[in-house]
Every structure is written in structure tokens, then in C-alpha cells.
Symmetry: C2
Subunit: 163 residues, 2 copies
Amino acid sequence: MIRLTPQPLTAAAFAPFGEVIDEQAASGFAINGGTSLRLNDLARLDPGEDGRVLFNLFVCRQSISLPHQPTVMECHPLGSQAFLPRHFARFLVLVAPPAPQPDLSQLHCFLSDGRQGVNYARGVWHLPLSSLDLETFVVVDRGGSGNNCHEVSVAGQIEVLEQ
Amino acid sequence: MIRLTPQPLTAAAFAPFGEVIDEQAASGFAINGGTSLRLNDLARLDPGEDGRVLFNLFVCRQSISLPHQPTVMECHPLGSQAFLPRHFARFLVLVAPPAPQPDLSQLHCFLSDGRQGVNYARGVWHLPLSSLDLETFVVVDRGGSGNNCHEVSVAGQIEVLEQ
């Protein structure tokens, strides 16, 4: 059993897997006569050559608690997938680099602070949405033909400890 | 002076201008073993032929109150622009159909209930972000070359009344 403690979710630590969407960390520029700040282009949206970008909401109906033993990891080989909690839900970000199967010796584990989102780059192994609170997430990912969801069982192999 | 009272923001009423992003109204399908509901493809994201889709946050630093006299309308001739309040901010949705100049005889005025977002179709005239509360908005729009923001003054011509 691999036991991991979530690390803080920073842009630098997460860079091999995609981008952190973080209002507190991003710089922006004033628009609309100074009445708004635009935090621009925060995620490298990648729908692939033949896909298009979808705007979705995921309504999380079952939350997890730590310690947590995930049963499944998944990846999307054809496009990126961005998650942003709509309100304040922390969610678990357990990732492994793109590969035919997730290499569990290369797992990295983070916890969103509840305001942060992430954009998983194409092919990055990650958990199905695993939120510590019931929440709605903005999800921006790929639509199009082809099999864009691979899942593998990791039951009994990983435990995520409390932070 | 044109005086308008905001109407409820429904998919049917807003259809000529784009889509309403509405968690309460959308139907979805279960994913991730039933732990989440996916409300799929809620906005027709349109970055045009030579653009790409951007994921941004707009931090609204100055809120409005009703009655309100807008001073500017704008349109994006090269792509769509979607707005979703991150939390619970109502915002004003004053629109006119695509045209070289906004036809003020064809204005429609709506008020988001604070959970609803909208996706403005390419070329639709609308207000710069006009929120009734300080709020962060998820904004998904177009990046790319070309002049994608036209603004016109409507100062002294429109008053939006309380709902």
C-alpha cells in the first residue's frame, strides 16, 4: 500500500501535470474602465486536433473524507480537462504522468484549498472527481469522437492520508 | 431615454442571443459510478476559425445597483463569450442582436438569479460585466489575432429599472 500526504497545490509543483487555476496567485490586467480585473488564459485548453472545447458543470453528489483509498484512476488521452470548484470545496488531486498505465511510483498528491482549480494536461492520470464537500464544479474539457476515457483499478494500492 | 425592467433569464427568452448556463434547469447524466452528475456541453463555445478558447477569471471590483444607466455596450465579432458567477452574484444581461451598431429598439434585458450564467453568441451586443455584487466570474471566450472588441457609447440613452 502506497501512503501519500497531500501537498499544497502550487503552480510550480503541478507544472508537469498542467496548470493550477488560482485567483489568489494569478496576476491580471484592468478591463472595462477599471471595474474588473481580467485574469487571462489560466489553463491550456487542449481539445486535440479533431475535438472541440466543452463547458460543463459536474454536480458532486458524494464527497470523500481523508484518509481515503481511491479505487480508480483515469486519463483522457485526447484532450485536457479543467476543474474549478464553484464555491469553496477542497478536492483531491492525485496524479501520475501520461503513460499507458499509471506508474504508481510517480504519483503526486495535492489538495486544492477550495478556491483553486486545476487543468489536467492531455493524458495525465488523475482521480475521478473526489471532493471533500458536496459542490458544483465548472469543468472545461474535450468533446468529439474517439475513446477519451481510460480507467484502471487501483483498489487496495493507495491510501491518501490527512494533510 | 429607453426604460427597461429586467426579465427572468430563461433559456427560451435568451435563445436568440446564446445560451443560459443554469445548473437548476439543465439535465445531466451520472458519471464516476454515480458520484457526480455531468451537465454536459452547456454553452456553444465559438472561438471562430482562427481563434482558440480561453479560460479566464474576471474579478469584479465595482458593483452596480438598480436603477442603472449603462454608458457602454460592446460586442465580440470574432467569438463567443461565456460568463458564470463563481458564487451568487446577480448580474445584468442587456443584449441586442448582432449588427454594426446596437439597435436600441431591439434591446432585451434580463437579470441572472446569481447562479445562472450566459454565453453570448458571436457578435451579440451586451454590457461590460455589470454585477450587482462584488464577485469573481468564470469567463470562457476567444483568444487570437484580430480586433474582437467593439464598443459604443449608450450614455444617457438607457435606464434599467428595478426588477
